[in-house]
């Protein structure tokens, strides 16, 4: 994920300081790992170095003095270009579940049992996420991020269901031979 573009996106609404950018990032991306302050300040310095952001004075609201940053015209163009670029669809997905399943087949294990147990863990997480997004307190950012996670877990589950059915058919063919 591109932290510099996300910070440029947050600056698109108006000048802001590092502490506020970190707080707004964590609100907008509630399921993501919180941004570290160090990373925010390093990224802001690089944006200034590259002419995509500039310092816009200081602010001291009954607290320590904070440096304000704002996006430049180049920054706005860079953001628009990045936001419109198509992300390459992954040609193949490498994933721990897939690796474990293959190893289980190779080692003569019980892949069906593994899939069933993994399915239970996926469903438990999907119930948690559904509760999060249907809570009356859920804001739009929370709903969108929970939807994203839910749909990816659902994709895993569909693959696991198809694989379990393939394994059943394969076993039946081997038994019949």
């Amino acid at each position: 994920m591109s932290t510099r573009h996300i910070l440029l996106g947050l600056l698109a609404g108006g000048p802001s300081h590092g502490y506020d950018l970190k707080r707004r990032h964590d609100e907008r991306f509630p399921q993501a790992r919180p941004l570290a302050y160090g990373q925010v300040y390093t990224t802001l310095q690089r944006l200034v170095r590259d002419g995509l952001a500039e310092i816009d004075g200081t602010e001291a609201d009954s607290g320590p003095e904070r440096t304000m940053y704002r996006s430049t015209d180049d920054g706005a163009r860079e953001l628009a270009t990045w936001a419109g670029e198509i992300a390459p669809p992954a040609p193949f997905v490498t994933n721990e579940i897939f690796a474990k399943l293959v190893v289980s087949i190779l080692a003569g294990g019980d892949p069906a049992a593994y899939l069933l147990a993994q399915r239970t863990a996926h469903m438990a997480r999907m119930r948690e996420l559904t509760a999060v997004k249907t809570s009356p307190a859920a804001d739009l950012a929370t709903v969108l991020s929970a939807d994203f996670a839910l749909n990816h877990l659902d994709a895993d589950l569909r693959w696991m269901n198809t694989t379990a059915a393939r394994l059943t058919n394969l076993t039946a063919e081997v038994d019949a031979a």
């Binding site: 294990g109 019980d110 049992a113 593994y114 069933l116 147990a117 749909n151």
Partner: protein, 240 residues
């Protein structure tokens, strides 16, 4: 498998259900429990026996073998007349395609179960209107099913299933014909209302996103309930 205290009697308990349709064995010893106020998802592939299980639990068909107990009493042994009465008073049912009566307006469709249990027409229509409001379809009272979207019609079906204050709602693929946002609205409305009124829900679905609205899930495979707890620990069969 159940998270419920074993000392309390489950609202609905099926033991060792066997049911054949002609030469097809739809259920081969399925057992499941539903607690009072619990929302349980029953998932499984097509042909795994989900709908047959629902029909047995709701008293629509009688199992060939096994038992179904409702509040501790044998449902599968009740005479047809008492069974019909119980279905009218204690159970609500929703199908994939709402199966609303096409000639009746939304409010009359919802009022129908109340009229069948002897409620006066004016009161029945008033209560039906309140339920349509709870499901977010107020304003559609005088529309017929053909004039509504699939999501609206399904919410009318839910209102009809809940209007009599049932203890259990049986929902067979209630979102099966809906797009993702309409599914979400129907499920959110069902779960919210069921929790508010303490109604238990037995939800049949092949969709994991829908099943995730439930408190718990059981999976059917070839007519029996399979659970991860019964499966061997670890994919390499290493005992832990």
């Amino acid at each position: 498998m159940s998270d419920h205290n074993p000392s309390t009697v489950p609202l609905l308990a099926a033991r060792g259900l066997v049911k054949e349709h002609g030469r097809t064995r739809a259920l081969r010893g399925a057992s499941v429990e539903l607690g009072s106020g619990e929302i349980l998802a029953v998932t499984g592939a097509s042909g795994s026996g989900k709908s047959t299980l629902l029909h047995c639990l709701a008293g629509i068909v009688r199992p060939d073998e096994g038992s179904v107990a409702y509040a501790g009493n044998r449902l599968d042994q009740l005479p047809e007349k008492q069974l019909s009465e119980l279905r009218r008073t204690d159970f609500g049912i929703v199908f994939q395609f709402g199966q609303l009566i096409p000639e009746l307006t939304a409010v009359d469709n919802v009022a129908l179960p109340l009229l069948l249990t002897g409620t006066a027409r004016k009161e029945a229509r008033e209560r039906a209107g309140e339920w349509l409001e709870r499901f977010g379809v107020r304003g559609q009272e005088e529309q017929r099913p053909g004039e509504m979207s699939g999501g609206q019609a399904q919410r009318v079906s839910l209102a009809r299933a809940l209007v009599t204050g049932p203890k259990v709602v049986f929902a067979d693929e209630p979102t099966g014909a809906l797009d993702s946002l309409a599914s979400e609205q129907v499920m959110a409305a069902l779960v919210h209302t069921a929790r508010e009124s303490g109604t238990a829900v037995l939800l049949i679905t092949h969709d994991a996103l829908t099943a995730a609205y439930a408190d718990r899930e059981v999976t059917l495979k070839d007519g029996v309930v399979v659970s991860a707890a019964d499966a061997a620990m670890g994919s390499l069969g290493v005992s832990q």
